[in-house]
C-alpha cells in the first residue's frame, strides 16, 4: 500500500511527459503556461485563505467547539473518533478553504503523521464542497427545486468520511 502510494506520482509524471512528447507538443512551453495559471490560481485564493485562517483560528482558539461537543464526548470516544476532527468534517461540504485552514491547524498542533493528521489529509482529499458545488451548478442554469440531490451528495460525503476513519484506524 505504501509503495503503491509512493509510485503514483512518479508514474503519472512519466505518463504525462511521454504522452506529450509522442504527440509532438512543446512540453516545456506547456509546462510554463500551466505554471503561470497555477500562480494566478494561488493568487486568486490568497484573500480567501487569509480570511478563513482568521475566522477558523478565532473559532478554534475559543474552544467553543469542545464546550459544544463535550456532551457527545463519550459517544465519540466510543467510536474512536477524535473531537478535533469534527469542525473539519462539518465545514468540509461548505468551504474548501475553511477545511484547509483547519487541516493546517491540526498539522501545527498534532503533526501530519499523527492519527489526526492522516485522518484530516484523507478527509480533505476524499470529500468535496458538496453544498457549494450544488449551489453554483444549479444557480447557473436557474434550477430552484433541487429535489433529493443535497441528501444524496451529503450521504456520499458521509460514506467517504466513514471509510476515511476506518482506513486511518486500520492501515497505519
Amino acid at each position: 500500500m505504501n509503495l503503491l502510494s509512493k509510485i503514483v506520482i512518479p508514474l503519472f509524471v512519466v505518463l504525462v511527459i511521454m504522452y506529450g512528447f509522442r504527440k509532438k507538443i512543446n512540453v516545456y512551453e506547456s509546462f510554463l503556461a500551466g505554471a503561470k495559471e497555477g500562480l494566478y490560481i494561488t493568487f486568486n485564493i490568497f484573500p480567501a485563505v487569509i480570511a478563513m485562517v482568521f475566522a477558523i483560528n478565532i473559532f478554534l482558539d475559543s474552544n467553543f467547539i469542545y464546550f459544544f461537543l463535550n456532551s457527545f464526548r463519550n459517544f465519540f470516544n466510543f467510536l474512536n473518533i477524535p473531537l478535533e476532527i469534527m469542525p473539519m468534517a462539518l465545514l468540509r461540504p461548505v468551504s474548501g478553504t475553511a477545511s484547509l485552514a483547519i487541516m493546517n491547524d491540526i498539522f501545527i498542533k498534532h503533526g501530519p503523521d499523527s492519527y489526526l493528521g492522516r485522518l484530516a489529509s484523507i478527509l480533505q482529499g476524499c470529500t468535496d464542497t458538496t453544498i457549494y458545488v450544488l449551489a453554483l451548478y444549479f444557480s447557473s442554469i436557474g434550477i430552484k427545486k433541487i429535489r433529493y440531490s443535497l441528501g444524496v451528495g451529503l450521504f456520499a460525503d458521509f460514506v467517504g468520511i466513514t471509510v476515511a476513519f476506518l482506513l486511518t484506524m486500520f492501515l497505519f
Binding site: 500551466g34 482568521f54 475559543s62 461548505v94 503523521d113 468535496d128 444524496v152 476515511a164
Partner: protein
C-alpha cells in the same frame, strides 16, 4: 452561505472567549493570524504551480481528452435518460477526467457546460432532472488521484512520508462515489 459561516465563526469565537475569560488567547490569535495564513499560502504555492504546469501538458497533449474517452462508455449506463449522442455526456466525461487529475479549475467550466446541455433536455426548467442529480453526485464525490494541496501542506509540516495518504484517499473517494451512486440509483428506481 460562506458569508454567514464566516461571521458565525468570528463572532462565536470572540464572544465565547470573552465569556470564558480567554481574552489573552484570542487577542494573540487575532494578531498572529495573518502570518499563519501567509505561511499556508506559501507552503501550498510551489506545488500548485508545479502541478498546474504538469497538468497543462496533459491538457495540451490531449491526454485529458483520452481520459475522457475512456470513461465515456461507462457514462451512457449511468445516464440512461440522456441520448448517447448528446454533448452533455462528453462534457461530463471531461469534467470527471479533470477532477481525477486534480484540475479543479479546468473541471468547473466543463461541469457548467454539462449542466447547460442537461437543462436543454429538462422538461421542467425550474426543477432538477434525474441526470443532473446523478452528475452532481459523481462530481462532488469525484475521485482525485493526486490531492496537491494536501500533499503540499504535509510536506511543509515535515511529514516523514507525505504521499502515504494517496491510496487510502483514492479508496475512500471510490467508496463515497459508489455509495452516492447506489443511493441515487435506488431513489430513481423507486420513483419510476
Amino acid at each position: 452561505m460562506v458569508n454567514i459561516i464566516w461571521i458565525f465563526l468570528i463572532l462565536v469565537g470572540i464572544f465565547f472567549s470573552l465569556i470564558t475569560g480567554n481574552i489573552d488567547t484570542i487577542n494573540n490569535s487575532i494578531l498572529t493570524n495573518g502570518k499563519e495564513g501567509l505561511d499556508l499560502i506559501i507552503s501550498i504555492l510551489p506545488i500548485i504551480v508545479l502541478w498546474s504546469g504538469i497538468m497543462k501538458i496533459a491538457e495540451d497533449s490531449g491526454l485529458l481528452k483520452r481520459f475522457a474517452q475512456l470513461v465515456q462508455p461507462l457514462l451512457s449506463r449511468l445516464f440512461p435518460d440522456v441520448p448517447k449522442e448528446n454533448p452533455a455526456l462528453g462534457y461530463i466525461a471531461s469534467n470527471i477526467a479533470a477532477n481525477m487529475m486534480g484540475l479543479g479549475s479546468a473541471a468547473t467550466p466543463f461541469g457548467l457546460k454539462a449542466m447547460k446541455e442537461l437543462q436543454k433536455i429538462n422538461p421542467d426548467k425550474e426543477t432538477a432532472s434525474t441526470p443532473m442529480i446523478t452528475f452532481l453526485v459523481l462530481n462532488t464525490a469525484g475521485v482525485t488521484i493526486v490531492p496537491t494541496t494536501v500533499l503540499a501542506l504535509r510536506i511543509a509540516h515535515h511529514s516523514a512520508n507525505p504521499s502515504e495518504i494517496i491510496i487510502p484517499g483514492i479508496i475512500a473517494t471510490f467508496c463515497s462515489s459508489l455509495g452516492g451512486l447506489l443511493l441515487d440509483y435506488f431513489i430513481r428506481r423507486r420513483k419510476k
